[in-house]
Symmetry: C2
Subunit: 659 residues, 2 copies
């Protein structure tokens, strides 16, 4: 393949001329690979030609053949659709793809496989498909800087001095999450993070707003407390001088780089061709335009040396399973022994106690919270392990993606907020799932049992959303997500142990009110399991979380009317529903599910399993209307159609029908 | 009830002294009502005592007894948990609650009902529960400024000169959406919006970061292009001078107000008592502390005049149903007549054509898009109705909440982006649902059929999320949300007509690829309906959207093997599944659903309905793994386990089992 149309120069040439030549060489590869793919964003990639040349060949300390070295500098391509230019450089540098165990060095010829099903060169950065140079899937914009912050926090914990470079688009910097990350990086003094804005002025549908101009971004970054330089993004010398400042000041550095979309290809610069490859018939002409641009600016091709190498760093050791101490011991350590006497505790408090114990059991456990640690009980962890607790303040999107960065660096992050506010980061969670991030999300005050604060604080669709991911394969034999929805402190404690040991996305749903213990402290809980709490052949009741206690009360009252019920605690999804279905079949083959959320959770889970055979009735009770404030959980349960009286009424009617 | 312990002064007193006295009077009501409620956030409310006094008595032009006047100035309390101070002022002013048709004037005695199930005084601002002074539910932080921007846009369209005041917390201003709104308000020159930051320095779990100090917020607001003043938030004169500037400059005004959490109550100021009412036993002492604070600063109670009244403005007229022209006519207007010949068109393009026609049919139709209008086809509308098109750039959270503001002012906003990026605003959508906002969300490039761009651009959990809201009552007889998932351009066109006519939240899911027409141009589509496309007694196939075409191909191939299938198009949720179940019962009582998304959508919908009786098998095929880039829709369908061959294989196996 024709990598460079000019010949290699023998005489000494300036770094500047050499950088221009490399930028043009990479630019031509970008044109070729996107034309071959028939899609992609060559114009956005060309805008980064010099920035990527400077970073990947001269600034970053890393070995392209060993992207797994923990000491290596990292690049987060937040403006993910520009990725072809990174692929071009990585192929030129024979970068490693695949896994550390099964490594393949990328070749320039491989670039033509861009966006193919069998290729590691996905349409946007996607480490999980075999491109370990990246730490996080990007392409949904505005998230990269948060991932970088997570990588930087992890490096500090591990005592590694490395730099994290992030490239953002100007249009992308409209996303509020970018500014959440700007704040976070200052709060945590992560001056080894460098944010580069590629300010090419062109968005997809139209021009980028003046609010995202290089000048405006410079002013904003300064107002957020960062050092800033505003440079010509196609001038290797200015870029080099700017990058030399990274990590030298107490403040992080932002670089507002003025770039040109479609740089060097005249025909791409005259109209906004976002996401449009050159047709095959125009490829030669476009490459010639790039070469001509090179001649105008004095590009001279030389053999580039490999990038500077990082220090040698010990590899991460995969630790053994994380085991929790006995429940009583964990409570005692948090001053909660009274709960053992009272035999009741809120699941959110149990989470706090479990987290402290997990933190003692394994150094990889870290914790993030969004200014509600005294509600989620993450504050227990903050007190015991302050160096591994990261206060994210009220900025949940950033919190979740910081977690992705921490996970990429081998940590096991637990990130908590009210369940309602975890929904702030839904797209960030989607990206965490694509990354296969080992991230644990904890939503407290879930459902409607918090009552008084009203619907703005109540999570109702969270179960449907997270359950959606529990039946899909993440590519390594597991499911994309596990949900845990414990009903008492003991099961909550053990669910946390599962979460720490699963390598992947988990969601824990905790509740505000105290709840009586349902299990003995040494009870074991299985993944995909459920627990039968009571047996009876008239009806099978299934619930989870705080709502289960109302269902148990209903079952007791039904028993007084001579109606005997199975009662199951479905504390996790995905759920093996077979024991529930079998118990129902042993009786009258009628199941009633009860939830404190909108549909798409437990009812769907059981109905789907039952309908697979089609021999069991499954009736679901879910929150039937938009809630409001109320004084107590029973009051709001009744208002929303899932009160004790509704359960008894529905159960009684079902039993009558099935007699 | 003792409203003010000092006597009313007869002599002329200064505005300053009077404002202090009013602030203290309101502060005492805050203490009383939160103590009575046993929950709430008195300390945050007290921080606003002077700001609310200034705004609600002196600055805002409005009639408290008529909050429905379109010309009235508006207040958006973004820092929703501070709401008791607004309730106190509103009761003092005898503000109207309920609806315009059934109005009740709030009394001071009503304040004791705070947070009760039967009260209009919800825990956080909640207009739908009978508090029309507010336009949007708030309490999930960082959203109010976007709602205000929507109100301001609507006022401009309606030719009304009014001001929109927004109060934000300092901790809250960490949310990135706040800065998205800052950009948007500059882009759209909405200088009648005023943002007031209450900088009390105390968050929930800890102090507010220095990144959100009054000084830092001042610098940030200036860098975003706003006018800014930094004032003492408990000095009536400074506040008055600051508010006098609103709307006088070409730029919007931000006020960084230095406030004190728990202002005037010594015992509340010495520790961070976020969200903690005074116990009943301490109420008298706390009120006495407030009175003492009043004496120190020269508070003198006087009868306050009513706030200045707004100009008289015509009320909104509820328009008649919105009717679309014939499909062919709408296509012709957008230069799409060729599609009639080819008999194929992408559903996203049909959306564009429908939107243009809707805009012509009704002035209330407005459109928002996030820099992808050339992908969503909102650009058709932008060209035909430029004054009603609002480019939001890459900031979906802001876009969605701007839509809530527009809807509150009587507009019918359609807001579009890639379906994947609509997920950026999940919590904003939750708040729109609580507001009962008449908001239409449009997610293009849904599912996996976009193929090449890969998973960062693919929405997979969107159906589960939105379906979660389709079975709950929004309190006026409708459901919280309707989903439309059309399979061809004709049904897409008619779904848009439904969306415009439903008063509430709707979600339209469109796809990237062209799809052949399945219906005649004059076909009618029912709400909650489905369409039977083919009849056959061996198996009932159900699908929707682009995937339906693969299912139809499968059905044709199955017919060649002698397997005759019902095929249903389930184009909307909530769905009346009875026709599908009846057709299945007429045959072998086996249903196979096929979707291009993760579970929680069509399979759950049909399985739940079927399991309610328990006599039909329902088997579901959904996206079975995390996708990646691929060249074509069939390729990625196969990769994800929903390829043509998988459908045929599963269908054949099911039919064999049921023979």
């Amino acid at each position: 393949m024709n990598r460079m149309s000019s010949t290699i120069q023998e005489l000494p040439v300036s770094d500047t001329s050499a950088a221009h030549a490399k930028a043009i060489e990479l630019g031509k590869q970008v044109l070729r690979m996107t034309t071959a793919a028939g899609s992609g964003h060559p114009s956005s990639a060309l805008a980064l030609a010099h920035i990527i040349t400077e970073l990947m060949y001269r600034q970053m300390r890393y070995d392209p053949a060993d992207p797994w070295n923990p000491a290596a500098d990292r690049l987060v391509l937040s403006v993910g659709h520009s990725v072809p230019i990174v692929y071009a450089a990585y192929a030129d540098l024979r970068g490693a793809t695949g896994t550390a165990e099964k490594r393949l060095l990328l070749r320039v010829d491989d670039l033509a496989t861009l966006r193919e099903l069998s290729s590691v060169l996905d349409g946007h950065p996607n480490p999980a498909e075999g491109f370990p140079f990246f730490d996080a899937a990007t392409g949904s914009l505005g998230q990269g800087l948060s991932a970088a912050a997570g990588l930087a926090l992890a490096a500090r914990l591990d005592g590694i001095a490395k730099r994290i470079f992030v490239i953002l688009g100007d249009g992308e910097s409209r996303e509020g999450q970018v500014w959440e990350a700007f704040d976070f990086i200052i709060d945590h003094r992560l001056n080894n993070v460098c944010a580069v804005f590629s300010c090419n002025g062109q968005g997809q549908a139209d021009k980028v707003s003046d609010q995202q101009s290089a000048e405006r971004l410079t002013a904003k970054a300064a107002a957020f407390g960062w050092d800033v330089v505003n440079v010509d993004g196609h001038d290797p010398d200015s870029l080099s001088a700017a990058f030399a400042r990274v990590g030298k000041s107490e403040r992080p550095l932002a670089i507002a780089a003025r770039t040109v979309k479609g740089w060097g290809v005249d025909s791409m610069q005259h109209e906004n061709l976002h996401g449009k490859p050159i047709p095959a018939s125009g490829l030669e002409k476009a490459c010639a335009e790039l070469d001509a641009a090179g001649r105008r600016i004095g590009a001279v091709a030389v053999e580039f040396p490999q990038p500077p190498r990082p220090p040698i760093s010990p590899r991460r050791v995969v630790s053994s399973p994380i085991t929790l101490p006995p429940f009583e011991e964990a409570l005692a350590r948090c001053g909660l022994s009274n709960a053992l006497k009272d035999k009741k505790l809120a699941t959110r408090v149990a989470y706090g106690a479990a987290l402290v114990a997990l933190g003692e059991a394994d150094e990889r456990i870290v914790c993030l919270d969004g200014d509600v640690s005294n509600s989620t009980y993450a504050n227990f962890f903050a007190r015991k392990h302050p160096n591994r607790f990261f206060e994210c303040k009220i900025a949940e999107q950033n919190m979740i993606t910081v977690g992705v960065g921490l996970a990429a660096a081998g940590k096991i992050p637990f990130a908590s907020s009210f369940a309602k506010f975890i929904a702030r980061g839904t797209d960030q969670i989607d990206m965490a799932a694509i990354t296969r991030a080992n991230l644990k999300l904890v939503g407290s005050h879930a459902g409607i049992s918090l009552a008084a604060d009203g619907p703005s604080q109540m999570s109702l669709a969270d179960v449907a959303y997270f359950r959606s991911m529990t039946r899909a394969d993440e590519g390594r034999g597991g499911t994309v997500c596990h949900i845990f929805h414990p009903s008492d402190a003991i099961s909550a404690y053990r669910c946390c142990e599962w979460m720490a040991n699963i390598d992947g996305l988990c969601y824990l749903r905790t509740h505000r009110p105290d709840a009586p213990f349902l299990y003995s402290p040494d009870e074991r809980f299985e993944l995909r399991g459920c627990k039968q709490l009571q047996a009876g052949s008239d009806l099978t009741l299934v619930s989870s979380g705080f709502m289960l206690h109302t269902v148990l009360t209903a079952a007791r009252q039904l028993a007084q009317s001579g109606i005997r019920c199975n009662v199951f605690d479905a504390y996790t999804f995905p759920l093996n529903a077979e024991p529930i279905l079998a118990a129902a079949r042993d009786g009258k083959a009628v199941i009633l599910t009860v939830e404190d959320n909108y549909p798409g959770g437990l009812h769907a889970e059981i109905a789907e399993a039952a309908a697979d055979v089609g021999d069991i009735r499954v009736v679901g009770m879910t929150v039937s209307r938009i809630p409001k404030s109320a004084k107590t959980p029973p009051e709001i349960f009744s208002y929303c159609g899932v009160g004790l009286e509704h359960i008894i009424e529905r159960a009684t009617a079902l039993v009558k029908q099935s007699r």
